[in-house]
């Protein structure tokens, strides 16, 4: 598997909301081989604090030249990244992880929550190319309208109209994405591709299990290396022991994971 460590140039920084940022990076090496669901590890500054790289899903590629990440400012690393300038260089490792396995033979449903929506755009684009006859359904959830608007628009540009749910009801369904899923006609043979907060993924997993649907989830864990060396990024698996989110994942078949329902 090819991986690169590169100084990539920032060609564009967009603030989608006050704390959601999209950065476009110039990196033919990564953009040309990346698959939806894969991620990159980025150094957020030149100093020793924060020390470790931060993982971000590849949320788009274009022309095998650029790729994008989409993130929320939640702490020091993301805040530093948000303050970088166009023209500056970022050190990026990638593409990392396995990515989603696209199944053209089933009805496909992309389910994203919050920043978990990031990789789904790339996935949708690739699906439309690989399975042109079966465009995926898209279900997106977030806290409020503000967080969702520009992302919904991105899917609309691909010709996909997203079903939406917000915690405060300011856009779409007032409640959870699983409520939305229940009301969709998904047929008997459906695969969900899910990325979002853990409780949401657990809920979608249960929903799919009940109906015998396929369900792929992209797991977030603390990661130090992103390449199988630190053994930090574990998720409990049903066969016993742990899988490593950076190499065995981040995308797992939901059935293979242990879901602690709290």
């Amino acid at each position: 598997m090819s991986q690169f460590q590169e100084k990539t140039q920032i060609t564009r920084i967009e603030r989608l909301t006050e704390n959601i940022v999209r950065i476009t990076l110039d990196s033919p090496d990564i953009a040309s081989i990346a698959k939806p669901g894969q991620f990159v590890m980025i150094r957020t500054g030149n100093g020793k604090d924060p020390l470790l790289r931060r993982p971000f899903s590849i949320s788009q590629t274009s022309n095998s030249q650029h790729f994008q990440i989409l993130f929320k400012v939640v702490g020091r690393g993301t805040s530093l990244l948000a303050h970088s300038r166009e023209g500056e260089y970022l050190s990026v490792l990638g593409p990392l992880g396995n990515g989603f396995r696209i199944n053209c033979k089933s009805r496909n449903c992309l389910v994203g929550g919050g920043m978990g929506i990031a990789p789904l755009l790339f996935l949708a684009k690739t699906m439309l190319r690989k399975c042109p006859n079966t465009p995926p359904l898209v279900v997106l959830g977030a806290r409020n309208r503000e967080e969702l608007t520009s992302l919904v628009y991105d899917f609309a540009e691909l010709g996909l109209s997203a079903h939406t749910a917000t915690d405060d009801g300011s856009l779409g369904h007032h409640g959870l994405v699983t409520d939305v899923l229940k009301n969709l006609d998904l047929g008997t043979n459906c695969t969900s591709y899910v990325c979002g907060p853990h409780p949401m993924m657990a809920a979608v997993h249960l929903f799919c299990k009940d109906r015998n649907y396929g369900c792929q989830v992209s797991m977030e864990t603390n990661m130090a290396c992103g390449m199988g060396a630190c053994l930090g990024c574990i998720v409990p698996v049903t066969k016993g022991g742990y899988g490593h989110a950076c190499t065995d994942g981040p995308v797992f078949d939901a059935k293979e994971l242990v879901w602690e329902v709290k």
Partner: protein
């Protein structure tokens, strides 16, 4: 840069083990080396130390296992490993032809486990050295770490040494009052070299959830934050023992390596820095070659212990 690298004399020896340069990778931070092939020309390194191996496979601790701290990180991997049998049948096979000395890090809960694993590895091809992690708690002695009690440390060393045909490096814990005492004990126990430091025991708490940030509650602190402690201990130990000292702890660059060698280290290991920059080890080799050329040194060995006191 190319010609400097080939011409600069960076060779060092750890007992009977001759290395082309002093730069190793630290156990648990470089996987089984192959993970770094996309980034590093492995044959350029002095040696690689692979993840710690126990007799039986271990699943390790539950998540979260790692958390970042100021200029460092805490880990509580819990020594996840495939066990010595699968290590030999799978990992050693994949290491064939790797063209860099492989040092195997071993650990156990009892003296017997250390002895047994050393024996099992003794007739395996392709192992250039054994590094003994004595920071593990001795289950028989109520969980006191082998590495904190001089005679226990010496006994483990002797047991492994007896059963090994390759040089034995003993890796010291920094969580002790007097590390020179332990270093001297393992020297007497027959160690061919000591490496130090392993991680400092630390802890992190999330005040919002009121929970420890590691499922294991406590973990090992590594990274630049601990470099001053590592450097001090290397300096002390290098004066106390006559076997080679391998410096570990917070090393990121060739400059850091020079500091450890001036303090008395014959070689070094790069740990956490591999996560931040997977090319750190190879870049450090290049940096050392550059330094030797620039300073017109006959060999990098000239600076070992060369600290000038005030």
């Amino acid at each position: 840069m190319g010609s400097e690298i080939t011409s600069a004399d960076l060779r060092v020896s750890i007992g009977s083990l001759n290395l082309k340069n002093p730069v190793m990778t630290a156990s648990g931070t470089f996987g089984y080396a192959r993970e770094f092939e996309p980034y590093v020309n492995l044959h350029r390194l002095g040696a690689v130390v692979v993840k710690g191996i126990s007799i039986e496979p271990r699943a390790g601790n539950p998540p979260p296992r790692i958390v970042e701290t100021s200029c460092g990180m805490l880990n509580a991997i819990g020594l996840e490993n495939v066990g010595v049998e699968r290590f030999i049948s799978e990992k050693m096979i994949s290491l064939q032809g790797i063209n860099v000395p492989v040092i195997v890090n071993i650990l156990g809960d009892t003296l017997e486990e250390y002895r047994e694993i050393a024996k099992r590895l003794a007739d395996v091809d392709g192992i250039s050295g054994i590094e003994v992690n004595i920071s593990c708690p001795n289950v028989k002695k109520g969980g006191v770490a082998f590495g904190t009690v001089p005679n226990m440390a010496a006994a483990v060393t002797a047991a492994v040494k007896e059963s090994s045909s390759v040089p034995v490096i003993v890796k010291l814990s920094p969580n002790v009052t007097d590390i020179t005492e332990i270093a001297c004990a393992v020297e007497e126990g027959g160690a061919d070299a000591v490496s130090l430091i392993n991680t400092l025991i630390g802890m992190a708490i999330d005040h919002r959830s009121r929970r420890p940030q590691l499922a294991n509650v406590i973990g090992g602190l590594s990274g630049p934050a601990i470099k001053p402690v590592a450097l001090r201990m290397v300096y002390q130990v290098a004066q106390a023992v006559s076997i080679p000292v391998i410096g570990v702890g917070g090393i990121e660059t060739a400059e850091d390596i020079l500091e450890f060698m001036l303090a008395g280290a014959t070689a070094v290991q790069i740990g956490t820095a591999n996560f931040v920059n997977p090319r750190a080890s190879e870049e450090a080799v290049e940096g050392l070659a550059h330094y030797v050329a620039e300073q017109k040194l006959g060999s990098i060995r000239e600076i070992i212990g060369g600290l000038i006191l005030p």
